[in-house]
Amino acid sequence: MVRGIVSPMTEPAARVRNLTKTYGSGQALVRALDDVSVDLLAGEFTAVMGPSGSGKSTLMHCCAGLDTADSGQVLVGEQDLTTMGDKALTRLRRDEIGFVFQSFNLVPTLTAGENIVLPLSIAGRRPDRRWYDVVVDTVGLRDRLHHKPNELSGGQQQRVAVARALVSRPRIVFADEPTGNLDSRAGAEVLELLRRSVSAPPEEGGGQTVVMVTHDPVAAAYTDRVVFLADGRVVDELRHPDREQVLEVMARMSAPA
């Protein structure tokens, strides 16, 4: 039985050790995470997949400092998230982590440009001008920087969200179904963007670590590695997956045991 995947090959950006989280009690007890251990490797684009209720979102939320677990450890760099208070977690999210959500990613009162630098300005820091230009050019929104979110298409909004996640050079970018609300073309653009942020040369905005929760095999095919969860446990893993392999694993998982 595979209890988790611990890879010694590259330095992990985040390490999850024996993480357990339950909801409810008694008959209604749900194990969202059941003794999960996994390394999320630096410089890799990782997808977390699994059926609804498999615990994939919970895992991501715990890794991102948005949720707390009952037991186990989450280490981002050398910091143990499970021992941190709200202030420290807030600072961690601000400085070490980038977010892309499925929808409602932007603050509607701010322009695209202001949204991109928001995490930095909240921290009271100025963006690194050169890096900012690289990011803006990468997402291809230079002519849209002064527009408010409601003047942008869904795909453009999501690209602004990716730029915002990248601009502070976080240790990890977490993306929660980032293409769930987009048509396939806009979705492809966003995935391409995330892919490039990992594999492009550093001077062109690459070298990022990205972890994405998705249930779309097409999206998963953009990644370096897919971790499969079911019933709160890591059940399988694929390296350099293509769509067919992913579909195969998924079919196997949903087949009656």
Binding site: F99, F104, V107, L110, L118
Partner: protein
């Protein structure tokens, strides 16, 4: 559909609670005002029903226009004769005097100085319609000199029990007297003296004290036998009356007195209803705002209902139904709160001297009707605008991600607002400067129209302010400041509507501050200009005091001369007209500047007249002034005209003896003391004060003290108005809390997003506080500007009334702005805490 509306209402208990706040407070104010004024009215009516006999026989002109008894009396023989009239069961003579103050155990006068301190004779005459009237509750009635009966409340306030010796201070020749309390009386049928005090002696003593010992009465009651009506008895009584004596039925006399007094205090009711109006206007803003936000938040739900086949009408009515339920709930709570408020007002007025504690609160069915009518109608009317907007939600919007309610044209709002402002200004100008009937209504409606107009136009007008605030915030507070500033700009209607509630309260507060300050400045200036002599002796509220005081002061070491002035009131062409009088040989000390004729010597039966008044009345030297006085028409020859002189309080100046002849009591109102050279300050004031030591109501003041005393009632009035405006402020603060809280709910996901990308709790709280401060400061700035404008305009209009100093209390206005910032910070506390406590994950997942 109805069920859907109710479900949605119950599903939002918190929002329900907050929206009801505004309604509750508005209704509470209306209820409070009505209950209080009903209580006041009942207390007066009950009092006066108990203080008249079936038929009241009194000398014509037996009371001065101020209600105090004149020197006209009825002979005792007439009272005996009245008892023999067919149909009369009995007749009793009454002695009545004002200015008989009870001194309490601490040496202070009992009661405020406003309600009268009554003295008189005890008799057990029943009141009209067989009511018992005043009955002794404890002890017995007074039988001989040195015995007195007090009303229960006065005895209680003075701290006296039956058997104690009670000191009195009077404005009669006998300054001080003492009597043993032998009984405590109370109105058997209810009715409170409203803070007045009542001291009753036996008839002989009362006549001795108040009527120079003559066997006469101020009036008499005739009691009807069973089956004889008041009208019949009055008609029969009239047959035996000599000339100069009249008989009125008790009902008429009671109505007369009650309406006189009710008129005197009607300003209080008017005042309260004005504030009820203010709170409702402010409340309506909050309701419109709350419903706009609620409807905006529910637009997707409403669109879904439309998509499922609900008609526009049904959707609109579902919102109106919510308003109806809210209105009912709010009115019910408001009704309860209003009763408490009335109790509070009663407690406050009793500290001002209007003591209603003896009268239970009166709860008329009309109050309930008014409360529900106001609460429900205002809520539904206010919800109508937002409800109408739901009609424009297209069903397809149910399917969209971000539903924005279609907003009406800003330009139309601006024009409508400007039209209201212009119309309001015109009405204001008409009320203030033109000679229109019911000028008060013109001014009031004008102010209301300007306020509503500014509120309507302010989403456009306030934009520069909000933009500037955003820029300033961004500069000082960085990203958090920018976010807060943007939030203020996000929905200018909402921001400005919330600010408008505060604006209204502060406009009125600023207006009052300017009027009050200007009035005080006017007082200071006129005191500085008019203060003659070294000390003035006066009684609170311009009341009268014994002439013995001036006589004794003239004897004090270091006093050069003493000038007495007294006031009398008659009628001239139906309007009240005051007359000043002094001793002829001291006219010089007044420093009159005669422009024509002579005041020396001022003979009895002649007057000198203020120049400007004479001009208005078309009088000149040699003419005759006619005046209706208690003793009939007086005709006085004008012997001189003088330049307006602030120390001569009325435009007519005559001699003391002239007033005595005209039936006015021998009392002074004002005494000016001139010190001998060098005597001033050498303990002179202390020596003068010694003279009045036994008369707590009479004070000796130098110029500074006198000015301070004159300013005091203005300060008190302004303070009272501020206290009431404070309630409008509370409503406004709740409005800000409400709007912020609803905005936080509305922006839950955004808050979640901001927290997720690293906004700390402290930063989030700061953001919401800054938003709140911007709203509060906007309201304060608008209010201060409008209030200053109204205040100055009002003072300009009052220029003809002698209030020609316009003084703007800059410090006070600055304090208002500072208060607004504090208000903003406080209003943000709860919504900010709520936002900071939001669970990030759940917030992001919220629809």
């Amino acid at each position: 559909m109805i069920r859907a509306a109710l479900k949605s209402l119950l599903g939002r208990k918190l929002r329900l609670l907050m929206s009801t706040f505004a309604i509750v407070l508005g209704v509470a104010f209306v209820t409070g005002s009505l209950v209080f004024s009903d209580t006041l009215g009942r207390s007066f009516t009950a009092l006066f029903a108990s203080t008249v006999g079936d038929v009241v026989v009194r000398p014509v002109g037996g009371t001065t226009t101020q209600g105090s008894p004149s020197t006209q009396t009825l002979p005792a023989a007439l009272v005996d004769e009245l008892a023999e009239v067919p149909g009369a069961a009995r007749a009793d003579g009454n002695v009545t005097a004002v200015g008989v103050f009870v001194v309490d155990t601490d040496g202070k006068v009992v009661g405020g100085l406003g309600p009268p301190a009554l003295g008189g004779n005890w008799n057990d005459a029943p009141a009209g319609h067989g009511l018992s009237g005043l009955v002794v509750q404890e002890g017995r009635e007074p039988r001989r000199e040195g015995e007195v009966v007090l009303d229960e409340r006065t005895a209680e306030r003075g701290g006296y029990d039956v058997g104690d010796t009670i000191p009195f201070v009077t404005s009669t020749d006998r300054l001080n007297l003492e009597a043993e309390l032998v009984g405590v009386a109370e109105f058997a049928e209810g009715g409170s003296l409203n803070g007045a005090t009542l001291a009753q002696f036996d008839t002989v003593t009362a006549q001795e004290l108040f009527l120079e010992g003559r066997d006469v009465f101020n009036d008499a009651w005739v009691t009807a036998e069973d089956g004889v009506s008041q009208e019949e008895l009055a008609a029969r009584v009239r047959e035996v009356l000599p000339e100069g004596v009249e008989a009125v039925t008790g009902d008429d006399a009671a109505d007369e007195s009650a309406s006189d007094l009710l008129e005197a205090v009607s300003f209080l009711t008017t005042f309260l209803l004005i504030f009820a109006g203010i709170s409702l206007v402010v409340g309506s803003f909050l309701i419109v705002n709350t419903f706009s936000i609620l409807v905006a938040q529910r637009s997707r739900e409403l669109a879904l209902l439309r998509a499922l086949g609900a008609s526009t009408r049904q959707v609109t009515w579902s919102v109106q139904l919510e308003a109806l339920v809210l209105g009912l709930v709010g009115s019910t709570v408001g009704l309860g709160l209003g009763v408490l408020l009335a109790q509070g007002i009663r407690a406050v007025t009793s500290s001002f001297g209007l003591d209603l504690t003896g009268q239970g609160l009166v709860f008329e069915p009309r109050t309930v009707l008014a409360a529900y009518a106001v609460g429900v109608l205002v809520t539904m009317a206010a919800a109508w605008l937002p409800a109408r907007r739901t009609a424009r939600i297209a069903p397809v919007q149910a399917l969209r991600d971000d539903v924005a309610l279609p907003e009406g044209s800003m330009r139309r709002r601006l024009w409508a607002g400007l039209a209201l402002v212009v119309g309001g200004l015109a009405a204001l100008a008409a009320g203030l400067f033109a000679d229109v009937p019911r000028a008060g209504w013109w001014v009031g409606l004008g102010v209301l129209a300007v306020l509503l107009g500014v509120a309507a136009a302010s989403p456009v007008v306030s934009r520069p302010f909000l933009s500037a605030a955003r820029a300033a915030y961004a500069r000082v507070f960085g990203a958090v400041g920018n976010l807060a500033g943007q939030n203020g700009l996000r929905n200018p209607r909402r921001t400005t509507a919330t600010a408008s509630a505060l604006m209204i309260g502060l406009t009125l507060a600023c207006t009052m501050a300017i009027v009050g300050d200007s009035a005080k400045a006017t007082v200071d200036r006129s005191v500085a200009e008019s203060f003659v002599g070294d000390y003035v002796v006066s009684s609170a509220f311009g009341g009268e005091f014994s002439p013995a005081i001036a006589d004794r002061m003239a004897e004090v070491d270091g006093v050069a001369s003493v000038l007495r002035e007294r006031f009398a009131f008659g009628e001239r062409d139906g309007d009240g007209q005051g007359v000043s009088a002094t001793d002829p040989d001291t006219v010089d000390d007044l420093g009159l500047t005669l422009v024509e004729g002579t005041a020396d010597p001022l003979r009895d039966g002649t007057v000198v007249v203020e120049e400007s008044w004479a001009e208005d009345e078309g009088l000149t030297v040699g003419d005759t002034v006619t005046l209706d006085l208690p003793t009939g028409e007086a005709r006085w020859e004008v012997v001189g005209l003088f330049e307006d002189n602030p120390i001569v309080f009325f435009p007519l100046l005559t001699t003391v003896d002239t007033l005595l002849d005209a039936g006015f009591a021998d009392r002074d109102n004002y005494v000016v003391v001139d010190a001998e050279d060098g005597a001033r300050g050498a303990g002179l004031q202390e020596r003068l004060e010694e003279v009045v030591a036994d008369s707590p109501v009479v004070t000796v003041k130098d110029e500074a003290g006198f000015a301070a005393e004159q300013r005091e009632p203005i300060d008190q009035l302004v303070l009272m108005i501020f206290a009431l405006l404070g309630l409008a402020l509370v409503i406004a603060v709740l409005g800000i809390v409400n709007t912020l809280a609803l905005s936080v709910i509305e922006r839950t996901r955004e808050v979640g997003l901001l927290r997720a990308i690293g906004l700390s709790r402290a930063q989030l709280r700061l953001m919401i506080t800054l938003e709140s401060v911007v709203i509060a400061v906007l309201g304060a700035v608008l209010g201060t500007v409008l209030g200053t404008f109204f205040g100055v305009a009002l003072m300009r209009a009052l220029r003809d009334e002698g209030l020609d100093v316009v003084s703007v209390p800059v410090g006070q206005l600055a304090a208002f702005l500072a208060v607004a910032v504090v208000v903003g910070v406080l209003a943000a506390v709860l919504p900010a805490r709520r936002a900071a406590r939001l669970d990030v994950l759940r917030a992001i997942a919220t629809d």
